[in-house]
Each structure stands twice: as C-alpha cells, then as structure tokens.
C-alpha cells in the first residue's frame, strides 16, 4: 500500500465480557458466560470523513466506542491510529491519542461535571495537555458552538443550562483540543427537535469546515442520514452492512438493514409505509455460536435447497429451534394449557406445535417436526435440536462472509455470497412505496 495510512483503522476488533458466574457455576468449574458485545468488527475512518454506526439498542455500539477511547481492554483485534496500533502505544503516543480523539456522549445531563463552571470544564483538557492561551481558546470554542456571548456562559454551572446548551458545551469540550476524530454517541437523541436540528447542523459544519472526522453512533437513521457519508449497520456485535448513506437508505441490501430503514417514520402523512414484519428484540449476546446472528429474526432466512418448504414455514422452525437451543421454550406454560391428568407426549407435542407454529407442515417435514417435539416432551432436548438441525439445515447457520462490490459496498449475508451488486433478496419488499 502506498500513501498515507487511514486515520483510524479497526481490524477484527473483539470485546467480550465475562458474565458474573454464580457459586454453582464456580463449584462445577463451568466456563463463565461470554458476553460478545463486539465481535469481529472492522472499520476504516479516513481523514475528514464522517461515518455512522447504527443498530438497535444493545447491539454493542457503546461498547465499541468505549473500546475505541481506551476505556475497555481489547479482547482481540487491533485499533490502528495513523498507522500505529494502540497496543504498541507508549506514553507519549497515548497522550497524543487522547488529545486527538475526543468523545461526545448521549446524555447531556450527565456529561458535564455539575460542580464545575463551563470555563473550568473547558479548561480541563487544555490543562491536562499543558496548552497555553487557555482563556482565548475557551472563548473561541464557545463562539464556534454558538454560545454567544461567551461571557454569559463562562461562569455558569451546567444545571443552569438547557439540554441543548449543555450538549453544545459537550461538543465544545470535544473540540477544544482540536482533535482529528470525534466519537459521538447518540449526541442528539435526548434533545428536543428544534435543538436537535441546531446541534446536528453545528456538527455537520464542524466536519466540513474544520476537517474533523467523526464516528457517529445512533439508532436513529434519520439523523444519521444528515451527518454521515457512510453507514455501518451493526447487529449483535457484528457489522452486517456498510455503504454510502444515501445508497443504503435507498436500497438496503441486508435483510436487517432493510427492516431498520423501513421502520423509520416518515414525516409526511401522504407517505404510505408498511409496518415492520419483525417481532421481538435482539437476543442477549451471550455465548453466541457460529452463523448469522440475525437468523432467528430474519424474514429472509434461507431454507435448505434439498427440501420442499415455504420460506414462512421455515422461518417458524428456525425461530423455534433457536428458542430450543437457548432453552427458552416455555414448556411449563404450554403444559398448563392442556389436561395434565394423562402425561401423554403426543398431546404435549401437539400443544407445543399449536402454540408455536401457524403454518402447516406436511409429509417428511411435518413428521420430523413431530418427532422433535415428542423428543422435547420427553425432555430429550438435544435429540429434538439434533433432529431439527439434520432436517432443516440452513446455510444461515454458517457465518456469512463479508462481500464487497467495486464501490466498497459491503454486506454479510448469504443472499449475497457471490456478488453484492446483482443479487436481490427474495422476500416481499418491505421498503417504500410512495
């Protein structure tokens, strides 16, 4: 490679937490549960670029950010700043990094020290880095974020500022060291719209006029579209799609992105949007196995080639099998609905089937499902899982590779294994119809 290395490069970053294990686990010497908050994430941030990371709550966005600013240890992978990995940083490197990489957090109400005046808050970073001419810089930065006149704010404490003003001070603090990179975690989600617009505008200006690069983290696609050139969609710790913002909004490829885009409300009563088909929320990122993480909710999950089954019926089976594997099938609840005087495994199997399945399965498919359910009724859970796995094996149970087209559009979904550009997802389009 020639030329300058990218400003910030994240390579296969992993951040796992160990879940607290209880005394029984300890006695049995079980491995502690792994919370896979960030799993194999790669991102590149070029100079003067603004990229976004979006996803539902709990998908690992904030962990990613805290890892980037060095508040979490890295489990695996690399963060490379201007060509040097942070694991090789010496003290001066860290100092430089901490000066050049700044964060703005979501919550304007707790982002500022309530005991410090605005002036003290803004002077802190300068003092830490031994920078002179502090008073002027504080004034200048306040003017930049349009807190005018600065004198009015210098001696105030945060509690006497409105939410929008606080968030501007947070941004000012992020800017005062003239960083190369700002990491912003849902910086406007707690603000009123009018303020939201002002803060977004300000941030956009900063990117454009001051040559700052930004990683913008949010679950709100509509603000993302305003501020970032590139969007990375994250689901349960992994990036599933990366593309230029406008393209991803117009033509999302990954089934999850499609759901996400189509769920954004449009401020126009004449616009007719279909409600989401998805149900539930992402599962806990604990001890996840191989395979696509979205498969238990994916409306486009791919049935095996060699059996005859409708996509909808297949989805139910996959969903159920995931529950079974995670031991989340509500066995007792279903059992309460039947007459318990004759513990008959067929009856139980039937009750479960009625509770969890709406589509008819006939022939071999139906027979296998019944076998599995009877096994489950007899408390042979692993047999049930195995039976279902053998018959209904999806390619989605292997981790999809990330494929990239010539324009840098990346997708990780088996629908696009061959080529990003010319493959279409075979599902009823949930997307816009105007």
């Amino acid at each position: 490679m020639t030329g300058k290395p990218p400003l910030l490069e994240i390579r296969n970053l992993r951040k796992y937490f160990e879940q607290n294990s209880n005394i029984v686990d300890m006695l049995l010497r079980r491995e502690p549960n792994q919370v896979q908050a960030v799993d194999d994430v790669s991102l590149t941030l070029e100079e003067n670029e603004s990229i976004a990371v979006i996803g539902e709550s709990g998908c690992g966005k904030t962990t990613l950010l805290l890892t980037l600013i060095g508040l979490h240890d890295i489990t695996d992978g690399e963060i490379v700043y201007k060509g040097k990995s942070i694991s090789e940083f010496d003290k001066p490197d860290w100092k430089r990094y901490r000066r050049n990489v700044q964060v703005v957090f979501q919550d304007p109400f707790n982002s500022l020290d309530p005991k410090m005046t605005i002036e003290e808050t803004l002077q802190e970073p300068l003092k830490i880095h031994g920078i002179k001419n502090r008073e002027k810089r504080v004034r200048d930065v306040l003017e930049h974020v349009e807190l005018n006149p600065p004198e009015k704010y210098l001696h105030k404490k945060p509690r006497n500022l409105s939410g929008g003003e606080k968030q501007r001070v947070s941004i000012a603090r992020g800017l005062i060291l003239e960083p190369d990179i700002i990491l912003a975690d849902e910086p406007v989600s707690m603000l009123d719209v009018s303020t939201q617009a002002a803060v977004l505008k300000k941030m956009k200006e900063l990117i454009e006029d001051f040559g700052v690069s930004m990683i913008y983290i949010s679950h709100d696609l509509s603000t993302v579209s305003y501020i970032s050139d590139t969007v990375n969609v994250m689901y349960l710790g992994r990036i599933v799609e990366t593309a230029p913002t406008e393209q991803i909004l117009a033509d999302p490829k990954h089934p999850y992105t499609e759901e996400l885009v189509s769920a954004v409300p449009i401020p126009d009563p004449s616009h007719d949007r279909q409600r989401t088909q998805m149900s539930g929320a992402p599962r806990d990122p604990v001890n996840l196995d191989e395979g696509c993480r979205f498969r238990d909710r994916c409306p486009a999950v791919i049935p095996p080639d060699d059996i005859e089954i409708s996509q909808e019926a297949y989805r139910e089976i996959i969903e159920f099998r995931e529950l079974l594997q995670r031991d989340e099938v509500a066995f007792e609840r279903v059992m309460n609905t039947i007459d318990k005087s004759y513990p008959d495994d067929r009856k139980m199997a039937k009750a479960i089937r009625e509770d969890y399945f709406t589509h008819d399965l006939t022939g071999e498919n139906g027979a296998v499902l019944n076998e599995a359910l009877i096994a489950f009724a007899n408390e042979k859970q692993d047999v049930a899982v195995k039976r279902l796995q053998e018959r209904f094996k999806s390619i989605c149970e292997t981790t999809p590779p990330t494929v990239e087209d010539e324009n840098g559009w990346c997708v990780a979904c088996h629908h696009y294994d061959q080529n990003v550009a010319d493959l279409q997802v075979e599902q009823p389009k949930t997307a816009q119809s105007d």
Binding site: E56, S57, S162, D192, V193, S194, T195, Q196, A197, A198, L200, K201, H219, D220, L221, S222, T223, S225, Y226, T245, E246, L249, E259, L260, V261, A263, V264, P265, I266, P267, D268, P269, S270, H271, R273, R275, T276, M278, S279, G280, A281, A330, R333, V334, N336, T337, D355, Q432
Partner: protein
C-alpha cells in the same frame, strides 16, 4: 364515526409554585372524535402532559384547571371528583399508557392479577371473564395469550410496553391516552407497537390521544395533529392539511426541523431561543420571542385560533400573521434554495 368523543374548550391549566402561578396550558380548544387518532406535538415543557393529565383527573396536587371545560361524550368532566373519575371514566372509558411501562406494572403481581384487580374495581365482570378479556387483548398486541400469567420481569422491555397497552385496552375504553409511549424505544420496537395500535383501531374503533415530541410518528399514525408551543395551541387540523398548509410559524418551522431519511441533504430548520416561562396571565403570543415575523401586536394580545382557508374545516391556527408569515417563509426558502445562502431565514428580531 365522527361523533365528538372528547371536547376541550378554552382549557387553562395552572400550577401553583414557590415562584407564583405557572400557566402550563392556556386557552386550548380541540376535539377528539370517536375512532380518531389524535396527535399532540411540541417540545418538552410545552404542556402536552399537563393537557393529558387534566383530561383524566391526574394533575399533580399543585395543579388545577383554572378555566374552560372538558366534555366527554357531551358531559362536562372538568370538575369531576376522584371518585367520579374512578367510577365513570378511568380504564372503562379513558385509559392511560404512561411513558415508562417498567414503572407502571407492579413487579410483585402477574399481569393477569393486576388486570383482575383493576377489572373488579371498575366493572361487574367475573374473574374468568376478565381473564378471557385480557387474553384477547394480549393476542391483539401480539403477545401469547398464555403469558397473561407471567410476572412483568419475565417480559423484555418492548413486551412490557405491549403488556401495558393490553392492560390499558382490556376494559375496551373508548379513548386511550398515550404519553410518549415509544420515546425510549428504538425504531423497530416503536414500529411494532404502532402496528398493534393500528390493529386496535381497526378492530375496536378506539380513539387515541398520542403525545409525542416526534411529529413524524404523528404524521404517520394519526388523522389529526395539534401543535403546542409554551402552553398555547399553535395549530390544529387534519395531518394532511397541517402538513400541506401549515400556517403558524412554530408549526411550519417545527415541521421543517425534522430530518427525513428521504432527503438526507435538506437543510434543517433551527428554531432559535427557548420557550418562555409563563406566569399567571398570558396576554401575548408565547412564540413572540422566537418568531421571525413577530410584531408589536403579537405582544399585546394572545392570538385566537382562527380557521385556515383550505379543504379542512377543522384546520385552525393561532397567529396574527398566519397567511403573510407562511408566504414570506415560502418565498424566503425558495430563494435561499436557488441562491447560495446557507440559512433559510434570519431573525428580524433584535
């Protein structure tokens, strides 16, 4: 279908505070029809929650309806006692979905126990009937019927919110008041919940008073929208009319402040300044300090809601310069789009 269900007329609500009287709602009038989804929008503190609470007799102890009337099915309810609200209205007629579902369910009781308790207080139904009724509502909001016997902690956040909706629905009220029901949730969860609310409307012809600061949700899910600014109703009418022909400066600026995924590059409107803190008497337009078109007149009296000249007979706006302002705004915006000036409008204010 277009029978008025709830009518508020010149509603004024005030709070008594250490610093004197605070007016939270000032002279607001609006009508919610049967089977109508009515959205109330505005920034925080503008009086949305206060309006809702005054309807259901849930004002904080220092708050009171100082003047005006609220009629429910033609009957005045603004002077109802706690007992009357409980016996005649709450749950059976008007139900409430609070912002935080987690705090509104009793963690020590299963959802069905809570429903039975509410049901026995407010109706004559038997326990079995009540359970059946709850099951039906569970299936409408997309929860498995058998889960009515679960404890709140057995549900995830989004499911809890749906359980609360089911609970609000289960005595088949005619009006549901939902105060920011999805603000804390992400878009997919929000969409799931509105999907269920749509179904409820279809099946039960329920009315909804939806309070939110997110106008895109209202434009999408409601028929009618009311926009409030600092205690005053700025504009109100069908979503189509208000969207196409907004007249009150706050209404059209508010609308333009929202990002729209379909136009990521559009300039967002910025409304400068802050809403004022309001004392006892409000004899002026509460938007005057933030309004680029304000004149002396706007400080001398509070504008009345007056009809806007378009297809929607209910469409009203409370601004002295409602037609001029919008025209000026439009032409300004057009010229700034063709020219290369960056801001859409500049304040004429000092």
């Amino acid at each position: 279908m277009t029978e008025p269900l709830l009518e508020a007329e010149d509603l004024t609500v005030q709070y008594e505070t250490d610093g004197g009287m605070v007016t939270a709602v000032s002279d607001a009038s609006f009508v919610i029809n049967e089977g109508e989804f009515f959205g109330l929008a505005g920034e925080s503190g503008c009086g949305k929650s206060t309006t809702a609470k005054s309807i259901i007799g849930g004002l904080d102890p220092n708050g009171q309806i100082s003047s005006g009337t609220i009629r429910y099915r033609g009957k005045e309810i603004q002077d109802y006692t706690e007992k009357q609200f409980n016996e005649e209205l709450r749950w059976k007629e008007i139900a409430w979905i609070p912002q935080s579902a987690m705090n509104s369910l009793d963690p020590l009781q299963t959802v069905s126990e809570q429903a039975v308790e509410i049901g026995t207080v407010h109706t004559e139904m038997s326990e079995t009937e009540l359970r059946e009724q709850l099951k039906e509502m569970f299936s409408i909001v997309g929860l498995q019927e058998s889960r009515i016997n679960d404890y709140p902690h057995q549900f995830s956040g989004g499911m809890q919110q749906r359980a609360v909706i089911a609970l609000a629905l289960f005595l088949e009220p005619s009006l549901i008041i939902a105060d920011e029901p999805t603000t804390a949730l992400d878009v997919i969860m929000q969409d799931q919940i509105f999907k269920h609310l749509d179904e409820i409307k279809e099946k039960l012809n329920t009315s909804l008073l939806l309070i939110t600061h997110d106008i895109s949700v209202i434009f999408e899910s409601c028929e009618t929208v009311a926009i409030m600014h600092a205690s005053q109703l700025a504009e109100y009418g069908s979503v189509d009319a208000v969207y196409a022909n907004p007249r009150h400066p706050y209404a059209f600026m508010f609308k333009e402040a929202f990002p729209d995924v379909r136009e990521p590059d559009r300039d967002l409107e910025v409304i400068e300044g802050y809403p004022p803190q309001l004392g006892d008497e409000i004899g002026f337009c509460s938007f005057v300090d933030r309004c680029p078109w304000a004149t002396e007149e706007c400080r001398e009296a509070a504008p009345e809601l007056e009809p806007v000249d378009d297809d929607d007979p209910r469409h009203v706006a409370g601004c002295f310069r409602k037609d001029e302002a919008y025209e000026m705004y439009q032409s300004n915006r057009l010229s700034s789009q063709s020219g290369d000036s960056t801001t859409a409008i500049t304040s004429e204010d000092d």
